[in-house]
Symmetry: C2
């Protein structure tokens, strides 16, 4: 008889805790299914009942890593906040979560980032999901007349670049939280709403190109 | 009799070429004075006549690495370009140099970045110099009424954060030149000139803080 789904979920969740302990102990060194089974005190064949392969395990690890951030994105985009405030919260709340994670255990965050680089195909879906939620906020702002002359994709790309220090976990590590402040992020989001549009800028790009070539 | 200064300069310059070859061959592995002397086919005591210690050598390596970028910053800040265009050129020309360097030899740039991290006290002076030149452009913009309500330091910090993708060599590596384009940089600089000021944003920061806490 198959175990009820809830038991399976509980066992998976416990196994992800064991993965977390292994990452704390061993850093970003690759964790094999055999390592995990041994650390969890179960046979490899038993482990495969919970994660059918290494990829399924890494997907579950990513899901756990991103869970809180996804909750924030869902909450903020479905809120009734004014759109400028919504964009601020969208970036600020995730930034604060990242800072919290970093300050609690800098080495653990670094290890997860390295694991994320090794399994980037798993992480990519979460990056795209972030862009999807940002596109919802951008579309709402456009309905109110912001970002005139830009497509949603152009605006998403430019906004991502301008707030990159606050979304890239590496930036928290190398720029540091003494320079990265939510107050500054608020001013950057405000600058984006007050200044970002497609009309004037195109000219500069063309002019500048000529000057660079000359 | 002391050698004429020009001979010393020529020998130093040749030795820096030897360092460059060593970095190409060995990556960011630390180069000792003994290694360099051997690679240059001279005795260590002879080498010390050109660089009195390892620190003096690393300073010369940094000077060589940043020379072109400093020339660009000097040229742009002393030019008669309109201030918005000046800021664009200030970032765009250095970004294009970095892309060129990266595309010519990605591994070599990565090795120099790692060496720069190891000798960050040497690099710091160049980072500060970049801020100094940016402050000159910001001050000129303020005279024309831009960035109202911000101090020069605040504006420099916010601008650095908004264009970070285009100044941080790591960003070229992990974001890639398909997403980082001077046309986008031009739109970001334009957004900064159209939207960055200190008055409206302060309110958002305060409001947002309360919402984050709640």
């Amino acid at each position: 008889m198959a175990r009820p789904q809830t038991d399976i979920e509980a066992a998976r969740s416990q196994l992800l805790e064991v993965v977390d302990d292994l990452v704390r102990q061993r850093g970003s060194a690759d964790i094999s299914m055999t390592d995990l089974a041994a650390a969890a005190g179960m046979s490899p064949s038993n482990l495969y009942r919970f994660f059918e392969n290494k990829e399924a395990l890494m997907e579950a690890v990513a899901e756990r890593f991103f869970a809180q951030k996804i909750r924030v994105m869902e909450e903020v985009t479905s809120s009734a906040l004014p759109v400028c405030e919504k964009m601020y919260q969208y970036f600020a709340r995730r930034f604060l979560l990242m800072v919290e994670q970093y300050e609690a255990d800098p080495d653990l965050l670094k290890s997860y980032l390295e694991i994320g680089n090794q399994y980037f195909e798993v992480v990519r879906g979460y990056v795209d999901l972030g862009d999807h939620y940002l596109a919802l906020i951008v579309a709402e702002a456009m309905e109110e007349g912001y970002f005139e002359g830009l497509s949603i994709d152009q605006a998403v790309s430019l906004i991502n670049q301008m707030v990159q220090c606050y979304t890239n976990p590496d930036a928290v590590i190398y720029i540091g939280t003494s320079k990265l402040k939510v107050e500054k992020l608020a001013m950057i989001v405000d600058t984006i709403f007050a200044g970002l549009n497609g009309s004037a800028s195109a000219q500069i790009a063309e002019e500048s190109h000529i000057k660079i070539v000359s």
